[in-house]
Symmetry: C2
Subunit: 523 residues, 2 copies
C-alpha cells in the first residue's frame, strides 16, 4: 500500500489502498475533529489519554458517512445561519440514509403504537384505532410491570421475538424460531456482536479474516479495525451491475490466507453503497463458496423492503440456503434487519434484530450471555420492530392508511432511484448503475489528471477533493467513494436518493453544472 | 487462584478467586444456557463457530445479575404458570435494579413528553399540559426533519447536550460544556466506550490495568474480560460501611504493577452492590491517589439521586476535583449517568450520558469518531434524559405532580432501604451495612462449614448454593456475592430494595425462616 506523507497530511497514491488513512486525507482546516496524525502537538504534562497512548485500534476506525466532509457541511450550515452568502441557501445532506431528516413522514400506525406504549392512558382515547391499541396492549403485556420502561430479556421482549420469527417464516416459507432471534440497538449492534464472536484473539496471521465487499458500508471496516481483524476485500463488478463473481471471491481469499484465518463472509443485499440486488444465482454461488471455505455468512439484509427494479427480487440468504438442501442448509448464517430503512425509516428508534441460523447452542448461549452484560436493547426500538413485523392486516382499521403510506414511500424511492441514475448517466464523464434497490446511487466519475494532481498536492484522495468542491460550490453533501473502497484508479461517490423529488431534481440539475465547471477548470 | 474441576463443574476453593469461573459454578441442570466448560460434546462436522473456536474473551465475560440463578428463576416461573405446586405463587425478582418491573409507576410528565415526541399530533390535544408540549416541541425542533425517528448527531441531540450541561452546572456550581457531553444507550455503553479508549492493544504485562472496587457491578469485570484487560481489584472496607482506604488502593496497585499498565480507576458512588455513599474525604483521597498514579478516573454516578441516609450527601467527582484546584482539577475524569435509576427508573428507554472532563481535544475527537460508526444512541432515551435534566419548574403546570411522584419514589426507597438492613441485622448470622444510597443491600451471611462443603461437592460457590436454595424454597431471586466479588472467606448476596413495601416485608419475613432452616440443616 503506497501511503505517503505530505506535510501533515496523508494521501494515498493508489486508488484503493489503505482506507485507514484515506478518511484523513482532507485539507488541514478540516482535520481538527478527526486527525490522528502528527499534526497536533501534545501539550499535556502527564495526561493518561493522549493521541499516542490511546487504544490504537480505535484510532484506525473510520466512518466516512459521518466523516470530515459531513463535519464541513455542519460548519457551512452554521455559516449560512449566520448570514454568509453562498450559491445556495441550505445544505442538502445526501450523505446518510436518514429518511425522516430528509422529509419522509413517519408511519402513523407505528407512531400511534409507540405513543400508546409510552403513555398507556391513551388506550382510553377513542381517537386511537383499535388495532394500534391491540398491538400496544399485547406488547406491554410482555414487558416487566407492563412498562416499556422495564428492561426486557437480554435477547428482547418475548412477543417481539415471536412476531419476528413469524414474519421470517412467512417471508421465506421456511420455519423460524423465536429462540434464534436477538433484538439489538439497530442492525449495527448485531453486526458488531456477531463479528465479535468470530474473533480469534490472535494477532498477525492468526487474526480472524472477514471477507467484505468493496465497495462496502464502512461499519464493516470500522468494526474490523476496532477488533484488529483482517479485512479480505472482494470487489463487486461494476461492469455487471455490481454483481459478485466466484472467481473474485476465490482470488480474494487465496491472497488473504497467508495473512489471516478467514472466518466469515459479509454480504450486503440489497447493496450499500452500490444499490444492486443480488440474483438468486449470485447468492447460491456465495453459499457454495462459503461451504467450500468453511465461512460463517453474515447477511446484511436491512434493505429487504427496498427493491425497485423490474425483474429484481429480494432473496433472503436463509431461504436460498435452506432450499439448496444439505450440506448447504447446515451452514452458519446471521441475517440482520433494522427499523431504520425499508419504508419505515425509523433511524432514531434504533430497532434491529439478528437471526442466527445453524449456530451451535452453546455458542448461542455465549452470545446471549454477552448480550446480558448490556442488559437489553432500547425497548422502544423493539416496539417499533414489532410493528414492522406485525403490521395492520386487511380488515383492520389501520390497514389502508398503512398500505398507502408504505406504498407511497416505496413508490417514490423507485422513481427517485430511476431519476438519479438517469440524470447521472446523462452527464459526460459520469456513469451510474441502475438503483435496483436500497437507498443509494454510487456513480463513477472521471476525474481529470490535473484534478487528481491538485488533490494530491492538497493531500486528499481525488474523489474527496471532488466532493469537497461539490459541497463548497453547491451545498450538496455526498460521500467520496474512497470512504467505501473502490477499484484502483476509479473514483466514485455515494448519494442517497432520499430527498424529496423536487429537491432531488434540483440537486441533480446543479450537479451537471458543477461537473462541467469542474472538468473545465482541471482540463 | 485455586480453581478445581469436579466432573463437568468448576468451583472455586477460595472465597473471591476467579470470577470467570464462578458464574458457572452451578448445578449441571442449570448449566445448559451458559456453560463454556468441557461438558458438551461438539457434534459439529465443521462449524466455523464452536465453543472452542469462538472468541475466548467473550467466553470470559460474566454477568451474574442475569446469570444462572436468574435463568433458573425464569424456569420456575414457567413451572408455576403450568400449575406446579411450590411454597410460593410467584418469583420475586430482586436480582436486578429494574424499577418498573417491580411495580414503580413511570413519571407522568416524562411519559407525556415522550408520547408527544413520538406522535406530535398530540401537541393539539388539550389534555396534555403545556410544559410537556413545550419540552417536546423544543426537543423535536433539534431533530432532523423534526422527527425523533431521525438519527441524532453521534454525540446526541444538541438541546439535550445543552440541557445536560446546564443540569451539571447547577448541580455542581461549576460550569459544564455541551461539547463534553456524549449521549449513550444507557450508562453501560458509555462505560464500555471510555474503557475502550484506555486499552493498550498489548498483551501480558503491557495490558491496560483498570482498578475496580470489590464488590463491583459486574459490567466492569465483563468489559475488562471482553477487552482482555487486567482487573486491579481494590477491596471496599465492609467494617467501615464499604468505604475506601488509601492504603488498600496502594496495596492493590502495587501488587498489580508487575502484571499490567495501570490506566484507570473506576469508582461507583453511590455504591452498587454495596449501597454506600462516599464521603467527600474519601473522594478527595481517591483523586489524590489518581493524581499520584496518573490514572484516568471513571466515576459511575448513576445513583446520584439515590441518597437516603441522614448525613450522607452526593458529591460528584467533578465538583470535588474542581474544588481541590490544580493540579487535581486538571485530572482526566469521565462521569456516567443514566435514566434507568434515580426516581425515574426508565431502564427500557436506555438513556445515558457521559461527561468527559479534561480529556485532550484530539482524544475526544477520536471518541466522537468511534461513536459515529454507531450512528447514534436511541433518540427516545435521549428525550427521556432531556426530561431528567430539565424537569418541570415551579410555576409550570406539571411541577407539583412531578415533585410528588419523585418524592414518593425516593421516600419509599429510603424506607425500604432502612427496613431491609434492619431486618437482615435482626437475623442471626446475617449482618448488613445501612443502605445509604443506590438501590441495593449487600448483606454478609455466615454459611456453616457443612453447607460450604455441600456446595463444594456440587461444584458451586457457597453463596451461589445458598441463593439457589433460597430461590427454590422461597421464590426469592437474589444474586450471590461471588458475582460481584468479595473478601476471601466471606459470603454475601445482593438484593434490590425495589419491591413494593408489602411484598418486600413479606420477602424479608420469609428470609428469616429460610435462613434458620438452612442453618439447622447444615449445622
Amino acid at each position: 500500500m503506497a501511503t505517503h506523507r505530505l506535510g501533515n497530511l496523508t494521501y494515498i497514491a493508489s486508488g484503493l489502498a489503505d482506507r485507514a488513512s484515506l478518511r484523513f486525507a482532507i485539507p488541514a482546516t478540516h482535520l481538527c475533529a478527526v486527525q490522528n496524525g502528527p499534526g497536533k502537538k501534545i501539550q499535556t504534562r502527564s495526561k493518561v489519554l493522549t493521541i499516542d497512548s490511546m487504544n490504537p485500534h480505535v484510532k484506525k476506525i473510520e466512518y466516512a458517512v459521518r466523516g470530515p466532509i459531513v463535519i464541513r457541511a455542519g460548519e457551512l450550515e452554521k455559516e449560512l445561519k449566520q448570514g454568509a452568502k453562498k450559491n445556495y441557501n441550505s445544505i442538502l445532506r445526501a450523505n446518510i440514509g436518514d429518511c425522516h431528516a430528509t422529509g419522509q413522514e413517519p408511519l402513523t400506525f407505528l407512531r400511534q403504537v409507540l405513543a400508546l406504549c409510552l403513555y398507556p392512558k391513551l388506550l382510553e382515547d377513542s381517537s386511537f384505532p383499535d388495532d394500534a391499541k391491540q398491538r400496544a396492549s399485547r406488547f406491554l403485556s410482555a414487558c416487566g410491570g407492563n412498562s416499556i420502561g422495564a428492561y426486557s430479556d437480554s435477547a428482547g421482549v418475548s412477543v417481539v421475538r415471536e412476531d419476528v420469527a413469524k414474519y421470517i417464516s412467512e417471508r421465506d416459507g421456511i420455519p423460524a424460531s423465536p429462540e434464534n432471534i436477538y433484538m439489538g440497538t439497530g442492525a449495527s449492534e448485531g453486526i458488531r456482536n456477531v463479528m465479535k464472536l468470530l474473533m480469534t484473539s490472535q494477532s498477525g496471521n492468526g487474526r480472524a479474516g472477514v471477507m467484505i465487499p468493496i465497495p462496502q458500508y464502512p461499519l464493516y471496516t470500522a468494526t474490523i479495525a476496532e477488533y484488529d481483524a483482517y479485512a479480505i476485500n472482494y470487489y463487486l463488478d461494476e461492469s455487471a451491475n455490481w454483481s459478485l463473481s466466484l472467481d473474485e471471491l476465490k482470488r480474494a481469499i487465496t491472497e488473504a490466507k497467508p495473512h489471516c484465518k478467514p472466518r466469515a463472509i459479509c454480504v450486503i443485499n440489497p447493496g450499500n453503497p452500490t444499490g444492486q440486488v443480488l440474483t438468486r444465482k449470485n447468492i447460491e454461488d456465495i453459499i457454495k463458496f462459503a461451504k467450500e471455505e468453511n465461512l460463517f455468512i453474515m447477511a446484511d439484509e436491512v434493505y429487504q423492503h427496498n427493491v425497485y427494479a423490474e425483474g429484481s427480487e429480494f432473496h433472503s440468504f436463509k431461504k436460498v440456503l435452506m432450499e439448496m438442501g444439505p450440506p448447504y442448509s447446515e451452514l452458519e448464517l446471521a441475517s440482520f434487519m433494522s427499523t431504520s430503512k425499508g419504508y419505515m425509516g425509523e433511524c432514531g428508534l434504533r430497532g434491529g434484530y439478528v437471526e442466527l441460523i445453524n449456530v451451535e447452542p452453546d455458542v448461542r448461549a455465549q452470545f446471549q450471555k454477552a448480550l446480558s452484560a448490556k442488559l437489553c436493547s432500547a425497548v422502544t426500538g423493539q416496539a417499533a420492530m414489532n410493528v414492522v413485523v406485525n403490521p395492520p392486516k386487511p380488515g383492520e382499521p389501520s390497514y389502508e392508511l398503512f398500505q398507502k403510506q408504505k406504498n407511497t414511500v416505496l413508490g417514490q424511492l423507485k422513481e427517485k432511484g430511476k431519476m438519479t441514475s438517469e440524470v447521472f448517466n446523462s452527464i459526460d464523464g459520469i456513469s451510474c448503475n441502475p438503483v435496483q434497490g436500497s437507498m443509494y446511487a454510487f456513480p463513477k466519475i472521471d476525474i481529470p489528471k490535473k484534478a487528481v494532481e491538485a488533490a494530491k498536492a492538497q493531500g486528499v484522495a481525488a474523489d474527496a477533493f471532488y466532493c469537497f468542491n461539490l459541497l463548497e460550490e453547491t451545498g450538496m453533501c455526498v460521500v467520496p467513494g474512497s470512504g467505501f473502497g473502490q477499484k484502483e484508479g476509479t473514483w466514485h461517490f455515494r448519494t442517497t436518493i432520499l430527498p424529496p423529488m423536487e429537491q432531488l431534481g434540483e440537486m441533480l440539475s446543479h450537479f451537471g453544472k458543477f461537473h462541467s465547471k469542474f472538468l473545465e477548470k482541471y482540463s
